[in-house]
Amino acid sequence: MEDIILLSHGNGGEATRKLIEEEILKYLGNEILEELLDSALIDIKGKIAFTTDSFVVSPIFFKGGDIGKLSIYGTINDLSVMGAKPLYVSVGFILEEGLSLKEFRKILESMRSAVEECGVKVVTGDTKVVEKGKGDKIYINTTGIGIIEDGISWHGRRIEEGDIIIINGEIGEHGLSIMLERLGIKTEEIESDLAPLHNLTLPLLKISNGIKFMRDPTRGGVAGVLNEIAQKYNVEIEIDEEKIPVKPWVKNASEILGIDPLYSANEGKIVIVADKKEEKKIMEFLRNHPLGQKAQIIGEIKGKGKRVYLKTKMGTKRILDPLKKDLLPRIC
């Protein structure tokens, strides 16, 4: 008989205690978490960044990662793009009755490894169990706290005409790899681009104070982030189709599925808006970084406006609106 998650694991009694101590603490334990207090007590001095994200990706194991890894990196990245050094993370599990303990342990191990890699600590958490059919195996919520590094301030960094737009690498991998898997398309060697970005963003913010904006283009893809920028800062953006780095398999998959890579989610990329004067410094840094080797300048801020335009390889221009339709759900 397989070991599985039962409703009793969520009842707050003996079974819950066992699950926490024998499984969760085994993988994610540290001196703070092990206290198992109602709230973790931590000392931080400085400006704090605080973020939360919930992860419902299906399938829970995909090429290049799993929901556990995603739940840690995703939150780390949200802190990193703000210039915060990630410090502490909380983890909330909603487990479906019947989830195999083997799969749960695999996810925990994946989270342990991600937590270690990012140099953070899981300091508090929660575990609930729902009846079979009321939750798809596992949902995870993570909340992260980071501290804005000395010398980093977003104050006064205004996006202006002439600013350049940079992407640190090839786009669309996460979304398309998940879609291929969900459609039962048998492919080999396709992977999500899932990666933690703090070792890229924080040093980048230190070497250049010409960075005006950074965001990781997850749901909605690069097109989504560009439109956010255009709307929020009232600027017109133009990007050049020929400059956008795309892996051949992503290009082919996007044609097969009818989904533009610009709308496909990324989990290891950042969109950067920067002062053109800093171009050389920033590109040199990125290209020498393992997560930035394929970095490209893909466009620029054209002036006041609200829309994003794409210059096609034919030299014609078209509008790049934010994603409007349903792509397959539950990519992130």
């Binding site: 398309i185 048998k186 492919t187 080999e188 060697e189 396709i190 892996k247 051949p248 398999w249 992503v250 290009k251 082919n252 998959a253 044609e255 097969i256 599925l257 009818g258």
Partner: protein, 71 residues
Amino acid sequence: MCLGVPLKVVEIRENNTALVDMGGPTLEISTIFTPEVKVGDYVLVHAGFSISILSEEEAIDIFSALEEIEK
């Protein structure tokens, strides 16, 4: 539904299936409609099937074809 995509055949498998190169990773397709396909051929793939074997010229030399029309 989606574009027919030209992809190169890298492996022929049994039961009228083949692997095509998606640019690194490979995709398994049915070759039932292009039984003469060989490794190295480019095929047009639509909804999991190859529907034609693309002829030699990877891209037609449009411009010399145009010269032909002008005549």
